[in-house]
């Protein structure tokens, strides 16, 4: 494959893939950065009791794990779709 074509293809592909990665990462970073801020500025909300837990403990100690599963399956589905699109376009 010549240089120009390689450059064009790789840029097109990476743009698509990077957009997906950055969207998922953005959601995750908002949560990671946000939780300590909630703890700091909204301590009453953080302390609210939910079935024996404080809200912030419930989120960090329990719910955070399924959250990462949701984000990663969103990404895996998305990235497999993008790969399939690229393969389809290229083999035309």
């Amino acid at each position: 494959m010549d240089q120009q074509k390689a450059s064009e293809l790789s840029r097109r592909m990476m743009k698509k893939q990077l957009r997906l990665s950055l969207s998922v990462a953005a959601v995750f970073v908002v949560i990671l950065v946000g939780l300590p801020l909630v703890n700091l500025y909204l301590p009453d909300l953080a302390k609210a009791r939910v079935g024996g837990f404080t809200l912030t403990w419930l989120i960090l100690g329990v719910l955070f794990f399924p959250l990462t599963w949701i984000l990663s399956s969103w990404f895996v589905k998305g990235t497999e779709r993008i790969d399939a699109e690229i393969v389809a376009e290229e083999s035309k």
Partner: protein, 653 residues
């Protein structure tokens, strides 16, 4: 003895499984990366098995017991790190087809020199990560067998070292996968049984939250204090919640008595009546140093009021530091022999359960500390050499991503139990606070059930789980480090024309040598929290490999000089900051630093990662002419789906 039987069983089955699998391992490529034929489910089990270390198994629960809410960031960060790995690194790295970070460094930039720099970090991070594993081995054997700390390290370390030297990695894929399931079983099933005796997770927490100023109550049983070799864990910080009596059950020397929490310069307080020896002529004050206390002495310690410059009142008490391992009891005056004393070294319920507690606010900058810890854990996973190597055992980029998703599910299912153990430890076994051995919560807690047989069986299961944890992680590290040595240092630098058999031999010798060094390092770190040490390994990985892999995969403009500068400076600066912190804590170095500097040294990721990235970008811009000429081809190799045929395996078989 039941515990020992479980531990021996897990060691024996690991070794036998390893030997069996080795007989099936043939080619060199098998020896190093297990071929590339491991399916998604087993590979995810193996990655999880390799990843869940002593830190995860014992350390996290201990740290949560000790510090409460803030320590929840550890399990979350350990699991969440895989998300960043998945989003930015797993797919490209597998598609690139190199199988160690040094391969990536050389292959991406055509720079053999860069490879040598990259190899050095496999060893730095690896050794940092083996230290907590060794500590795990030492303390578990101490706890269940009463062996001295060093003996556990030597025995366990040697068994694993020889296993690795004989097996290579194929032997280990199946062993690692099995050990994931052992660990999940060992952390979950005993946890449910313990909860059925002692109360469920949310009940336990609710109980801890009931009295915000409360502190758990300990029975008056004998507490083994560590000596100054275990500093800073040789301290007995008596509770500010009420009067305590300390009875010395052995002769002891107190290196120092001091006010705790440490007062600021402007604070005013009167500690003259805070401590006194009852029925003895022993002269003791709140400032005594090098005080010899004979056996059977009874010392009373009273909390007192501290008034800050702003007029704020708070309570303080005294902290006794022990010179040699000693035996004491801590009781309360109202029932001298039956206990009921407030647990020493324990934060109040409120500080424990709420954010910004003792872990993050110890230096006065809780937000900074929290974010720095998060960055280290989230970015550091991508920098662990023994984990990345496993991604090459996926057949393609797609399965690498699917594997990562499964890894996150498996890790979440494991880590969600660690805070349960930590909270149960606080309510059911607060005496672990007094002896500074919260790391043992998961091993010791089952003995509190009041049913000896069940207690011993459960303790046997958790001990076996802990063993599975440090065996698998230590083996994985040893394979990566020995592989780096055999492949990169021996195979590329010392003897470039070596045959594959010679490299196999080099691998074996390297495994023995590196195993021995790891054991020696393990002897030095008895006093550090297991999970803290792992956090440090992550911080170094986060500031060195993570930026390399992130920018190397996604930014065309990166040059070898830029990447090497960023990795070296960011990684080394973090390493130096952490080692200095350790030396200060061990009192090998006396260095007065401001609390802000101290926070930044203890948790360097918040400056280390940006520094490394900034240097990579800056130096690459300056050396823009040296961007590899075939960078477009590189990018295709990294990102194109395999179906397009741009991928290539870097290693020749």
């Amino acid at each position: 003895m039941i515990e020992l039987a479980f531990v021996l069983f897990i060691i024996a089955s690991t070794v036998l499984l390893g030997v069996w699998a080795t007989n099936k391992s043939q080619s060199v490529s098998d020896f190093f990366v297990a071929g590339r034929s491991v399916n998604v489910f087993w590979n995810a089990s193996a990655i999880s098995g390799e990843y869940l270390s002593a830190a995860s198994f014992m350390g996290v629960a201990g740290l949560i017991m000790k510090n409460g809410y803030d320590a929840l960031w550890y399990p979350v960060g350990y699991a969440a790190g895989y998300l960043f790995l998945l989003l930015f690194i797993a797919g490209p790295l597998r598609r690139f087809g190199a199988y160690t970070i040094p391969d990536f460094a050389e292959g991406r930039f055509h720079s053999p020199a860069f490879r040598k720099i990259a190899v050095s970090f496999v060893l730095f991070i690896g050794f940092f990560y083996t230290m907590p594993q060794m500590k795990g081995a030492g303390t578990v054997m101490q706890g269940i067998m009463g062996w001295p700390y060093w003996l556990g390290i030597i025995i366990v370390g040697s068994v694993i070292t020889f296993n690795v030297a004989l097996g290579g990695m194929k032997g280990i894929t199946i062993v690692q996968a099995m050990q994931y399931w052992v660990k999940v079983f060992a952390i979950s099933v005993p946890c449910f049984v313990v909860m059925s005796f002692l109360g469920s997770y949310n009940e336990t927490l609710a109980k801890a939250l009931e009295a915000p100023k409360g502190v758990p109550i300990i029975p008056g049983s004998v507490i083994s204090m560590k000596g100054k070799a275990g500093a800073p864990n040789n301290a007995l910080a008596l509770s500010t919640a009420g009067e305590s009596l300390v009875k010395f059950e052995s002769d002891a020397v107190l290196t120092s008595i001091s006010v705790n929490p440490k007062p600021k310069k402007e604070d005013t307080f009167d500690a003259s009546g805070a401590i006194l020896a009852i029925g003895s002529s022993l002269e003791v004050s709140s400032k005594s140093k090098g005080l010899t206390v004979p056996k059977d002495t009874l010392i009373r310690v009273m909390p007192f009021e501290v008034i800050s410059a702003e007029g704020k009142k708070s309570k303080a008490s005294l902290k006794l530091e022990f010179d040699q391992p000693s035996k004491i009891r801590v009781t309360a005056p109202r029932s001298q022999n039956d206990g009921d004393a407030f647990a020493p070294n324990s934060p109040t319920n409120e500080k424990w359960a709420a954010p910004f507690g003792p872990l993050t606010s110890k230096n006065g900058y809780p937000i900074l500390y929290t974010y720095s810890l998060i960055i280290a854990l989230v970015c550091g996973t991508a920098g662990l050499p023994h984990i990345l190597v496993r991604f090459y055992t996926n057949p393609d980029g797609k399965s690498a991503k699917r594997t990562t998703l499964w890894v996150m599910v498996m890790l979440g299912a494991f880590y969600v139990f660690t805070p349960m153990w930590g909270s149960l430890g606080r309510t059911a076994m607060p005496i672990l606070y007094a002896s500074n051995s919260t790391d043992m919560a998961i091993i010791k807690l089952p003995t509190m059930l009041g049913n000896e047989t069940i207690g011993h069986i459960l303790a046997g299961i958790t001990s076996a789980g802990a063993f599975a944890a440090f065996m698998s992680t230590f083996s994985g590290l040893l394979v990566s480090m020995s592989g780096a040595f055999a492949h990169d240092i021996y195979g590329k630098i010392i003897k470039p024309d070596s045959s594959s058999d010679q490299r196999k031999t080099a691998f074996k010798f390297a495994a023995v040598g590196i195993g021995a060094i790891s054991m020696l390092l393990g002897l030095l770190v008895e006093s550090f929290d297991i999970a803290m040490m792992v956090g440090w390994a992550f911080a170094i990985g986060a500031a060195s490999y993570f930026p390399l892999l992130l920018l190397g995969s996604w930014w065309r403009g990166l040059t070898a000089k830029g990447a090497a500068t960023g990795m070296l400076v960011g990684g080394m600066a973090s390493l130096v900051a952490i080692v200095t912190t350790m030396l200060i804590d061990k009192k090998y170095v006396t260095l007065e630093v401001s609390p802000l500097v101290r926070s930044l040294m203890e948790q360097p990721a918040i400056w280390g990662v940006p520094l490394s990235i900034a240097l990579m970008v800056g130096v690459s811009k300056m050396t823009a002419k040296q961007v590899p000429h075939d960078v477009d081809t590189m990018m295709l190799r990294l990102h194109a789906p395999e179906e397009l045929g741009h991928s290539k395996d870097y290693i020749e078989h």
